[in-house]
Amino acid sequence: MNHLDPLEKAPVFQLKGSMLALTILELSANDPECLDAQLAEKAEQAPQFFHDAPIILALDKCAPSAEPLDIARILAVCRKHGLQPLALRSEDPEQLAQAKLLDLAVMPPSGARERPIGATAAVEAPAEPSVIPAKIITQPVRSGQQIYAKNTDLIVMAAVSAGAELLADGNIHVYGPLRGRALAGINGNTDARIFCQQLGAEMLSIAGQYKLAEDLRRDPLWGKATQTCLNDQHLDISAL
């Protein structure tokens, strides 16, 4: 087992999204001495709160001053009183550069989550849509299971049981009998198609236009290899 490639081993971590409650220390003036004194007073009132409390240092509301903000010094003041600054909230390029030097994470300024931060983020955003590999399923899709191929095609190489649901933003291909539901182009892509080797679906849908088994059953191509596409708000089923 030890000779296995690390990539073939069972995953040793998981990525999880989470919402955490954090305190934000919003600076209103560039005055480290005053901050030191006022923090000391607060820390005396609530020592438990200040003990190793993670905070975000917000500079976006700080009044402009003649001297440039010395972030390292402000951090030192915070740490002295037991606070643990995790990140910086700011949009000033000079402050962002300092944050980078100090290995501090950067948060978007309040009320501006949607705006890109600084020049670096703009460069990172991929302008060209690259190819997203299709989602390929080799095991039977059982009743009650739902498979969604986000922004891509879905290819199923086994049977899709009645009561199973296939969803794809792109096309759907099924190489076993298709007895469940297949919904292609669910984000509104009217060019999406559904291909199957044996049509026995409970429902076929492309971009919201659907046909149920009750109609599909009467089609002479029921049980055969077919493709389905959307033609002028109408589902067209043709032989493959």
Binding site: A10, P11, Q139, P140, V141, R142, S143, G144, Q145, A158, A159, S161, A162, G163, A164, G176, P177, R179
Partner: protein
């Protein structure tokens, strides 16, 4: 190397407990040290089918709660040396089972026994989930009838996604299909799904087809696992299924309509 085997179905009344009793007894008959665990807390039945209902002192929930040791709760079968039963509690409900408790008990059983058979309750809720969570192999019991087949299909989906093996990305649970209450005559009349239909819909390996038989009800009421009735077709079919489970190649029997002989036609043989 011990093996945890779950007998499950989704739908109720298809023969899970009959199958658990028969398969467990069959394995013990072939010399494998086997325990059958009843997971149907609140609807305890296995002890009746095994004919040991008068000897239940402690049960599965007692062991989980630490009120009794495993050896106190294990009931030794009177007929077979290698066979033990762990009864479910009749006075509690499925919530009395916890994942940690079940895992601890099953791990301990796996140290003592070659085969641990988990008799799952019907449904797909907590009891059924815990019964299959730690399994290495599964026998999905199905009747040749559309609603049972669909429920089995759902259960197969859960076996491949909600088990410990699936969560840890290990080799998936090996799945076997067992078709019970099969009546070739009714299949021929088009009233019942055929073996081929069910295999086609569920696309998994068939481990046995048990014919509809009066012997099953009789055996249940007498508390004798039907596999011990080797005169009956159902007993023989279960016996074949156990052989297949152990990797033997055995041809399927009782799939075709039995031709009645001249005398039987004259005097009306048994169904």
């Amino acid at each position: 190397m011990s093996k945890i085997l779950v007998v499950t179905s989704g739908k109720g009344g298809v023969g899970k407990t009959t199958t658990s009793a028969a398969i467990g007894t069959g394995l013990a008959l072939r010399g494998h040290r086997t325990v059958i665990v009843d997971f149907d807390v609140g609807l305890r039945n296995l002890d009746l089918i095994m004919g040991c209902e008068r000897r239940v002192v402690y049960d599965f929930v007692n062991v989980i709660n630490g009120d009794a040791t495993l050896n106190q709760a294990l009931i030794k079968d009177k007929r077979l040396e290698n066979l033990y039963i762990l009864a479910a509690s009749q006075t509690r409900d499925k919530d009395a089972l916890t994942l940690e408790g079940v895992e601890k008990v099953l791990t301990e059983l796996a140290e003592q026994f070659e085969f641990v058979i988990c008799d799952s309750p019907a449904g797909i809720e907590k009891g059924a989930h815990l019964a299959m969570y730690l399994a290495d192999a599964a026998i999905v019991v199905t009747n040749p009838e559309v609603s049972s087949v669909r429920d089995s299909d759902r259960m197969l989906g859960l076996l491949s996604s909600k088990s410990k093996r699936a969560e840890e990305g290990r080799e998936p649970i090996s799945e076997h299909l067992l078709l019970t209450r099969y009546s070739p005559e009714r299949v021929a009349r088009g009233e019942m799904l055929s073996v081929e239909d069910v295999e086609e819909i569920l696309s998994i390996q068939m481990i046995g087809v048990i014919p509809e038989s009066q012997a099953v009800l009789k055996a249940s009421n007498q508390g004798i696992p039907v596999i011990l009735d080797d005169e009956s077709d159902a007993g023989q079919a279960y016996s074949d299924a156990v052989d297949r489970l152990l990797g033997k190649e055995v041809p399927h029997r009782f799939l075709d309509v039995q031709k009645k002989g001249f005398l039987q036609r004259m005097f009306g043989g048994k169904e």
